[in-house]
């Protein structure tokens, strides 16, 4: 296994690694590209950009998405922006600084080589998107505008109002549409991947369910790219879209691909708080709001009480009675500390009894001083759509009263383990974007997810996949009548039949919500040995109950959303357990992973670099067998390892 876990990071100085690697990997001639087929699963920023770029190069691409159109993928909901090291504002930004901020923000649990490459290609992404006609925000002089995000002291974030993800995705979707029109890409909508097919240990295709008709289809290729995003919905309540799921990655894991750092989940500090048991999902309020919004709770408990019983409004509490706790604790970064730090600080205040709504789980995000300083019009221009979204959900006007926010699950840093070529431990199986584990370590900085998705899709995978495909130019098209396809299809059908046959007494949502509670309470913002061990047991029990007592209505041969959810929940009931196991193993706090046993006196994370400076790499060993953990040790050749400090 240790041989399989070769990260293949090229030797040499940081700034030369990628250039050197590109010059050494194989390329495929145009005539041979036409003979090669690539499957891309998922059409978010990673999948859409990869499918488009591979189509442009001349490969035969098949792209799959679960929605009615590739444009619906959840990248569309990213609000704030995308980072790049352009240094347009002349504030001393550089590729190195973006690299350093990202490594530090990830709490020294990401690979130097990968992160440097990400920073290196970031500038090309902005050029590409502008060429596609993405309407980024501009200054009156006609040049591009920037703003700031957490974990950074420069302004390097490009944005399109509060809809940056939408605009970037529409750009990638347009590039994809062009390739579909030209016949280089074939698009399969409303299809869900249900298994990966291996022949002689290599990825050769996938089994999908046509969500409209229920038909189980076989698709073969020379390589398969997983771009299906993260698994935050294991928690049930998250900012992910309702249909986002980690099932494709999980199927790959069960076929032998290594899963990296499954416990690394990001909790975003600024989400609209939970209102009740009927809630289906949480809505994010962009991190960009922390450019101008100030986070606070009252200093006095009596004010807290009056707020909870609605006897006073937040705006009536005088300045001197407000605790701007981020500014107090982290003077150098203030409200722009990284997400994990801001989330824990909110939890600390709420746990201490200062939560400002009736559930006690909310803090204020206030624009009063920004409106006084800049005027309402400027604030409206910058965040108008976010303010409108907030008001529609809560019925409170944030120009008058501060927003109420609380942390929620937002992103998963963990995912399929990949080497420098973005290839998993299964040959010819690649993974890009949020679906892989590679670039963000223990915590992702804001505006870096869009950067990574597009970096992987436009500028990295199209090069590195050539290194693998160059070996396949003599390999004929994959025959989907091969017994491996028949076997995989049979197993998928059996699983579906089994789900219908249970005819139990509880709905799918009942189990997913129960799992979500276990995960949030024990594998959420704060974790400890006792809670994690309990969670592992509870999940096992819940999983057994699910397979005995779930009720899935209808049949397979129709549009059946309950069946879709049941298949995903069955996977989540396994994935959740692995997340808890990984969190239990990692007896240190780093980034978003906070083990209560490992904290400093003032409640900051305490890493254990001596024992845990590695990627935990989990290997599936079979049904109801314990998975095996391997380690990929992280070497820091260029960066001085330090305790993260956002105070001075």
């Amino acid at each position: 296994m240790s041989e399989k876990l070769n990260s293949k990071i090229p030797e040499g100085p940081l700034s030369e690694k990628w250039t050197k690697h590109k010059s050494q990997i194989r390329v495929v001639s145009p005539a041979n590209k036409r003979k090669l087929e690539v499957i891309v699963v998922g059409t978010g920023l990673g999948g859409a950009s990869a499918a488009a770029a591979l189509g442009e190069l001349g490969y035969n691409v098949k792209v799959f998405c679960i929605s009615d159109s590739p444009r619906r993928a959840h990248s569309i909901a990213a609000q704030g922006g995308i980072n790049a090291a352009k240094n347009y504002p002349n504030d001393n930004d550089s590729i190195y600084r973006l690299f350093y901020d990202t490594i530090k923000g990830g709490d020294y649990r990401a690979r130097e080589g990968n992160v440097y490459r990400l920073a290196e290609v970031s500038n090309e992404i902005i050029d590409q998107c502008v060429a596609q006609g993405v309407p980024f925000a501009r200054e009156y002089g006609g040049l591009l505008d920037n703003r700031s995000f957490g974990g950074s002291q420069v302004s390097r974030t490009f944005y399109a109002r509060g809809q940056t993800g939408q605009q970037l995705l529409l750009g990638a979707y347009a590039a994809l549409n062009r390739q579909i029109h030209l016949g280089n890409v074939k698009s399969y909508n409303r299809r869900e991947m249900l298994d990966l097919v291996l022949i002689d240990g290599e990825a050769k295709g996938i089994i999908v369910r046509n969500l409209e008709t229920g038909e189980i289809e076989r698709h073969g290729a020379h390589a398969v790219v997983i771009a299906t995003g993260g698994y935050g919905n294991v928690f049930f309540l998250s900012t992910n879209a309702m249909n986002s799921n980690g099932s494709s990655a999980w199927q790959c894991y069960k076929k032998g691909a290594i899963f990296g750092n499954p416990s690394f989940a990001q909790i975003h500090p600024t989400c609209i708080p939970v209102h009740g048991e009927q809630q289906s999902k949480l809505t994010l309020m962009s991190e960009s709001l922390r450019n101008d919004g100030r986070i606070w709770v009252p200093k006095k408990k009596e004010d807290v009480e009056k707020l909870r019983t609605k006897k006073i409004l937040a705006s009536q509490i005088p300045e001197e009675d407000r605790d701007y706790y981020l500014e107090r604790r982290y003077p150098a970064f203030g409200n722009l500390v990284p997400r994990d730090v801001a989330s824990r600080a909110a939890k600390e205040r709420c746990d201490a009894g200062y939560g400002v709504n009736d559930t006690g789980l909310a803090v204020f995000l206030d624009f009063k001083s920004a409106i006084e300083r800049l005027g309402k019009k400027v604030i409206e221009e910058r965040y108008g759509n976010l303010f409108q979204m907030y008001e529609k959900i809560t019925d409170v006007n944030p120009y008058q009263e501060p927003m109420m926010i609380y942390p929620a699950i937002h992103y998963t840093m963990g995912g399929l383990w990949v080497d420098y070529n973005l290839e998993t431990t299964i040959p010819s199986l690649f993974s890009i974007g949020e679906a892989n584990f590679s670039d963000h370590g223990g915590n992702r900085l804001g505006a870096s997810a869009l950067m990574q998705g597009l970096a992987d899709g436009y500028f990295i995978l199209p090069y590195t996949i050539g290194d693998t495909l160059a070996k396949k130019i003599q390999v004929p098209k994959t025959d989907v009548n091969h017994p491996a396809f028949a076997q995989a299809e049979k197993e998928v059908k059996e699983k579906i039949t089994k789900l219908f046959a249970i005819k139990g007494k509880e709905t799918v949502d009942y189990y997913q919500k129960k799992l979500g509670h276990i995960m949030w309470d024990n594998v959420g913002m704060a974790r400890n040995e006792k809670g994690l061990k309990e969670a592992i047991e509870q999940i096992k029990v819940l999983r057994e109950e699910f397979w005995k007592n779930v009720y899935v209505p209808g049949t397979n041969e129709e549009f059946n959303q309950e069946l879709e959810k049941a298949i995903r929940t069955a996977d989540n009931l396994e994935l959740g357990e692995l997340m808890a196991k990984d969190a239990l193993n990692r007896f240190e706090s780093c980034g978003g992973h906070f083990r209560e046993e490992m904290q400093t006196e003032d409640g900051e994370t305490k890493r254990d670099d001596k024992n845990f400076m590695y990627v935990s790499c989990w290997e599936y060993t079979g049904e109801s067998k314990e998975p095996v953990m391997h380690k990929e040790h992280l070497n820091y050749e260029f960066v001085q390892i330090a305790t993260r400090n956002y105070k001075d």
């Binding site: 950009s49 488009a52 770029a53 442009e56 929605s67 009615d68 159109s69 590739p70 619906r72 993928a73 959840h74 909901a77 352009k86 050029d127 590409q128 998107c129 502008v130 060429a131 596609q132 006609g133 309407p135 980024f136 501009r138 002089g141 006609g142 591009l144 399109a160 939408q166 605009q167 347009a174 590039a175 549409n177 062009r178 579909i180 029109h181 698009s187 879209a241 309702m242 209102h275 009927q278 809630q279 289906s280 999902k281 809505t283 994010l284 409108q388 979204m389 529609k392 959900i393 019925d395 436009y458 709905t507 949502d509 009720y551 209505p553 209808g554 129709e558 549009f559 959303q561 309950e562």
Partner: protein
């Protein structure tokens, strides 16, 4: 809050549809419309499980409806609610609608988009592939990945960038088409045409683009625009019909050039 729901049920594109009538009770006013639909579905599934309910004829099964992001940006949700696309509130998609906008005890009628270009798949789920096809015909700037100029090489007037962004806010939900008495897709198509026409990057192939997209729209059988402005009224993103005017100008210019 309690509601009576009249929901369009249709097993498949080929089957005949009907209205199912259901009661939901104790709904919080802070619940979103789609969360209320989740509650209805939970109830309908439980009736399927319960032999007593089944013996009384309760076996409709859950209502199929499209949804995903639930924050008004993916464009997946649709629904005609009490005769209006995306329901009674303005400037939002159905997923952003909350039950506080209804009266306690009200009867709410819920139907799919009804338009020849977007046939029903099941219940409230419709087929919007035609929208993808129109964009595939030309809704892009024909540049390959890599080898493009630095992003700040071409200054763009801020007003143009902002107006382009207004048009680019379209989420592709299809409310404009469902609302139009002619079943016209002009607002949807013009949003893309106009967004690119306002930028220097899009100007190079503007003529080719507008002709290709309009011709695909006509080929797919969408109706003509008669300027009723209904589309603009129901657009959750307030896309203006001035974009239709710009598309018409672009189209005319392109035809004259021919």
């Amino acid at each position: 809050m309690d509601f009576t729901l009249k929901v369009w049920r249709q097993k498949s594109a080929k089957d005949k549809g009907y209205f199912g009538t259901y009661q939901v009770k104790d709904i919080s006013p802070d619940t979103s419309f789609l969360e209320m639909m989740d509650i209805l579905n939970e109830q309908l599934i439980r009736e399927n499980i319960d032999p007593v309910a089944v013996s009384k004829g309760c076996h409709d099964g859950p209502v199929a409806f499209d949804h995903d992001c639930r924050e008004g940006i993916c464009g997946m949700c649709s629904l005609y609610i009490n005769g209006r696309a995306h329901g009674p509130d303005d400037d939002i998609t159905t997923c952003q609608l909350h039950m506080r906008k209804f009266k306690d005890g009200e009867t709410i009628t819920i139907e799919p988009w009804r338009s020849a270009g977007m046939p029903v798949i099941k219940d409230l789920v419709i087929n919007r592939n035609a929208l993808d096809q129109i964009l595939q015909a030309g809704g892009y700037v024909s540049v390959n990945t890599g080898g493009v100029p630095d992003a700040n090489t071409i200054p763009i007037r801020r007003e143009n960038a902002e107006e382009s962004m207004d048009a680019a806010s379209c989420v592709g939900c299809g409310a404009c088409i469902a609302t139009c008495k002619n079943g016209s897709a002009m607002l949807f198509v013009s949003a893309r045409v106009s967004s690119l026409a306002l930028l220097p990057q899009g100007k190079v192939e503007a003529a080719r683009r507008v002709k290709a997209m309009v011709s695909k729209m006509d080929e797919l059988g969408f109706g003509a625009c008669t300027n009723t402005r209904a589309c603009e009224m129901e657009c959750p993103k307030r896309i203006s019909i001035t974009h239709i005017a710009r598309m018409n100008r672009e189209f005319l210019k392109a035809k004259i050039q021919d």
